[in-house]
């Protein structure tokens, strides 16, 4: 999903805008990519799959869609043929379908939840969208249009029409195929929650009736909520899109044919396989910037469709894409598709930005983007990462969103740090820096303990809690896991998890077992607290000081022949039990590192030495990112007030200047 949580996004935008006043934008067109303005050229059909006999995925669905976009009415009239292969192992009579666009209707569950979380949001009529099925028949059975009924498996909200169910008169035997023929109409909203139009721009996602997933012995077809995303089966997509000839289109498939029609339209034919969704975007104002990257699975064509005013960001998109492709290829596994399309939404269209679909992502930038604000890179890398976790591993984003968003956010920290520096991978200005690790941790600290990570996405306390915990906390949990099993081992575990479960729908349990297997460690104690629990982790140096050992003999000159007893008391303030290291440093430059299992509420270390205490520090390697308060993790005897003075100066200056501005009225 659009990675930035509401709070992080707002913070970033605020910072970017503030910084924009003082910084210089990156010059345009400095990359090697070539901007052109024409339709995305055809690419070979399934270039790497042409000779293969085995498909990459178990293909359950085969969609054929003919769609016609009406740019005046912002509607799509389409027919869909879905061949569904019954691999459920049992006869099936009932088939649920997602009708996601109906979420943008008043009183829908999505809208109700949006209003619950953000009562002041201004929903205008143009933000409403819908999908209407005008005809549904099953080959060999006949017209079943009147048999459709809406179901609400999550909240029984009768006004919600995001899931439709059809019951066939007779069951489809196990292993057999059933063919649905559906005629439907989309009314696209003005861009909202990833989909819709804005002026001449279209982002068409989650736009066709999509069958649910048979998973864990039952149909899994949840309603569309304000925090949930998507879950679907793998298969093939053959899509014809008819639209005005001046439109430049980017889609999650290979363009295999393009035909101009006599009515001023053109029909583009796309094919995609071993994916579980198909989306597309169009605008006559796009500039197509092309490039390519070659990895272990062959060459990937890169198409970046830039909106007006944003072209300066194109080289930044390309650079981060190539870097991220290389890192994932090296760390996680091959990128098996021959294409990747990036759609850069136009100004004001950020609701369409930061979203992932198979082989197509949407990015996010502004006309003025200082070089030191790495927002375009960050969003692009995050959305690309979804190609692996959402796109290929394809976990259930309704029920276990952390497996996609959380792991992806962790990988984002690793990728951004590798490409842009550990402490400068989000903001890199001479006067201000921020790394992705810190950013994820800060996100987690916004609402750290309202819900466990494993909660179903729509059952979180609110959207902010969902964001903080699913993205930020999971990333922070995995960063902290590095302390237990090591960064390399965790990377190897992720590689194993990906290679083993790609094109399937694994669960959280599969992930945990893989990590335990690769690391050779029982990690239940950790995951039980970090993933399924809500305990907070917070360790503190409660007390640290040295006393003269011969305190009752004042005639002894301590400085010359003194012996000291040093006390260091460490407290576990939170309920999260985690083994930690404590480094105690003395003024003879010697240090001692203690290991504490954290079992008790506190522990005291006592040392009798000729030297006095200089400092005591919990987690000296700075690996326990989950710790809520890092400032109380250490104690230095000799106060260092430089940071305080620096902040005091800034606060005082701001306060003085604010007073000056207000006094202008006097």
């Amino acid at each position: 999903m659009e990675r930035p949580l509401p709070n992080r996004r707002q913070m970033r935008i605020g910072i970017v805008l503030a910084l924009a006043l003082t910084c210089v934008a990156e010059p345009a067109g400095s990359g090697q990519a070539t901007p052109t303005r024409h339709a995305v050229p055809p690419a070979p059909i399934a270039a790497r799959g042409a000779a293969k006999e085995q498909t990459l995925s178990t293909r359950v669905v085969a969609y054929q869609i003919d769609a016609r976009l009406d740019t005046a009415k912002h509607t799509i009239a389409a027919t869909e043929t879905l061949r569904y292969k019954n691999l459920t192992g049992q006869p099936q009579k009932t088939f649920p379908f997602h009708l996601y666009l109906n979420a943008f209707q008043p009183q829908s569950t999505f809208m109700t939840e949006e209003h619950r979380d953000n009562p002041d949001i201004d929903w205008k009529p143009e933000h409403f969208g819908a999908i209407t099925i005008s005809h549904l028949e099953v080959t060999g059975v006949g017209d079943l249009t009147n048999e459709m009924r809406f179901i609400q498996p999550d909240d029984h909200n009768a006004a919600d029409r995001t899931v439709m169910q059809i019951e066939l008169p007779r069951a489809v035997p196990a292993g057999a195929e059933v063919e649905f023929k559906i005629a439907f109409n989309d009314k696209l909203p003005e861009v909202v929650a990833r989909t819709g139009y804005l002026r001449d721009f279209y982002m068409v996602g989650q736009w066709f009736p999509k069958v649910g997933v048979w998973w864990k012995g039952a149909w899994n077809c949840h309603q569309f909520h304000n925090t949930t995303e998507f879950f679907a089966d793998f298969g093939t997509f053959d899509v014809n899109v008819t639209l005005p000839q001046n439109e430049i289109v980017g889609a999650g498939g290979d363009l295999v044919a393009s035909m101009n029609n006599s009515d001023g339209t053109k029909t583009l034919t796309f094919h995609s396989e071993d994916v579980h969704d198909f989306s597309w975007g169009a605008s006559p104002s796009f500039t197509d910037v092309e490039d390519s990257w070659t990895g272990s699975a062959g060459t990937v064509k890169l198409h970046v469709l830039m909106s007006p005013g944003n072209l300066a960001s194109a080289p930044r998109y390309i650079q981060v894409l190539k870097g991220t492709l290389a890192l994932y290829d090296q760390w996680i596994g091959p990128y098996p598709y021959d294409r990747l399309t990036v759609i850069d939404p136009p100004h004001g269209g950020y609701q369409a930005g930061g979203m992932e679909y198979p082989t197509l992502i949407t990015a996010d930038t502004y006309w003025f983007m200082p070089k030191g604000a790495l927002l375009p890179e960050l969003v692009t890398q995050h959305e690309f990462g979804h190609q692996y976790w959402y796109g290929m591993v394809a976990t259930n984003e309704f029920e276990e969103a952390w497996l996609d968003e959380g792991i992806n956010s962790y990988m984002e920290t690793k990728g951004m740090d590798a490409l842009y520096g550990k402490y400068t991978s989000e903001f890199n200005f001479p006067f201000l820096q921020m790394g992705e690790d810190d950013s994820q941790r800060f996100s987690y600290l916004q609402k750290p303990d309202t819900d466990p990570i494993t909660r179903f996405a729509w059952r979180f306390y609110d959207g902010d809690a969902y964001g903080a915990i699913t993205y930020g906390k999971t990333a922070t949990v995995l960063l902290t896991l590095e302390k237990i099993i090591g960064e390399e081992t965790l990377r190897h575990a992720l590689h194993t998890y990906f290679m083993r479960y790609r094109y399937t729908h694994p669960t959280g349990e599969d992930f945990i077992k893989t990590v335990e297997e690769v690391s050779g460690k029982d990690l239940r104690w950790y995951f039980d607290q970090a993933i399924t629990g809500t305990q907070m982790l917070d360790y503190k140096i409660l007390d640290a000081h040295s006393d003269a050992l011969e305190w009752d003999q004042p005639e002894i000159a301590w400085k010359d022949a003194g012996h000291y007893r040093t006390y260091v008391t460490v407290q576990r303030k939170g309920d999260f039990v985690f083994p930690i290291d404590v480094k105690v440093t003395f003024d003879d430059k010697q240090s001692v590192t203690e290991h504490w299992d954290g079992g008790e509420r506190w522990v005291r270390y006592v040392y009798d030495r000729k030297s006095q205490l200089v400092s005591a520090e919990i987690d000296p390697d700075h690996q326990v990112w989950l710790d809520r308060d890092l400032f109380n993790n250490s104690y230095i005897v000799k106060a260092d007030s430089r940071a305080t003075k620096k902040l005091s100066n800034i606060l005082g200056f701001v306060s003085e200047w604010m007073a000056q501005l207000l006094a202008w009225l006097a």
Partner: protein, 312 residues
């Protein structure tokens, strides 16, 4: 008729320089109020950072992650510091209203006022200037409305335009207008304050009327007199911030402090420069009228008797 000649402009600067005690008084009050407004926060920051190794991230560079963590630290009441600063700013504004009478009396008389005379003028004009401030807030309401309209138009252009640039250009133009318009109002009220002091005008609406007439007949000279000092203030302020952010070592404490305080003092000096220039301009204007008129009845003089109280 008086004109905003370079002489007036530089005379204003010279007057501020020669009556430095006014500047230092304003600066010290501003500094002390800011100090007390931020003291509580600083003490809490010190309690968290001074004995923590994690504070190092804020010394060598400025790690926004560490600063953000500090801001949401349960022991760090960030909200409290904002309200304390707002209170300090409000108190400083009240003080400025109070001090304006003394400042203008000092600058208009062209002579050094003793502390007694200065504060007498402050008290004498305080409630008049409170009323003027209320009028100013009322007059600024249309500017705020205009700002709202500009925002609305910006949104509309932004929404309709394929490229973001038309809206950006409109915004740039709107910002310029919305900055220049309040300056016009400020000059008007500045002149009303000068008239109130110079003529000992009790009725502020009459002072405003006379100032409006003055402004109408001498708009460009008065406006330019004010604007060029403002431009100097903004340019120096921006340059100072740039130097602070990019050229000073992150670890240094003294240099940023000195630079920040220089910027504050310079900002205040520029405001006083505007005041002084306006006073000189008005004095010259009155002299010009006196020369051209056959009879001249001088305005009530401000007491310049030396007092025993310490000088300001």
């Amino acid at each position: 008729m008086a004109d905003a000649t370079p002489r007036t402009f530089f005379s204003g600067a010279s007057l501020v320089w020669n009556r430095q005690r006014v500047l230092w008084l304003i600066y010290v009050v501003n500094f002390v109020l800011a100090y007390f407004a931020t003291r509580g926060t600083n003490e809490r920051i010190a309690a968290i950072l001074d004995h923590s190794l994690a504070a190092d991230q804020l010394v060598h560079g400025f790690n926004l992650g560490a600063a953000s963590s500090l801001a949401i630290n349960p022991e760090f009441p960030f909200g409290g510091s904002v309200s304390a600063s707002l209170l300090g700013a409000t108190l400083f504004t009240i003080f400025t209203i109070f001090a304006t009478g003394g400042i203008l009396a000092t600058y208009y008389s062209g002579q050094r006022l003793h502390a007694g005379g200065f504060f007498e003028a402050c008290g004498h004009h305080f409630w008049r200037f409170v009323r003027l401030t209320i009028y100013l807030l009322i007059v600024l309401i249309p500017v705020f409305i205009l700002g709202g309209i500009a925002h609305h138009v910006y949104d509309r252009i932004d929404k309709q335009s394929i490229s973001p640039m038309p809206a950006v250009h409109f915004l740039e133009a709107a910002i310029v207008v919305l900055l220049l318009l309040p300056i016009c109002i400020r000059v008007w009220f500045d002149m009303a304050q000068v008239i109130a002091v110079a003529e000992d005008e009790r009725r502020m609406h009459r002072a405003l009327r006379r100032a409006a007439a003055l402004l109408r007949h001498n708009f460009f000279s008065l406006y330019w007199l004010y604007l060029r000092v403002s431009l100097i203030a903004w340019i120096v302020f921006a340059a100072g911030l740039h130097i602070w952010m990019t050229h000073l070592r992150p670890e240094s404490i003294l240099a940023p402090f000195l630079l920040s305080q220089f910027l504050i003092i310079f900002w205040q000096a520029c405001r006083l420069w505007q005041r002084a220039s306006e006073c000189i301009w008005y004095r010259e204007h009155q002299r010009a009228i006196a020369v051209s008129a056959p009879t001249y009845d001088p305005p009530p003089a401000i007491s310049q008797e030396p007092l025993a109280a310490p000088t300001v």
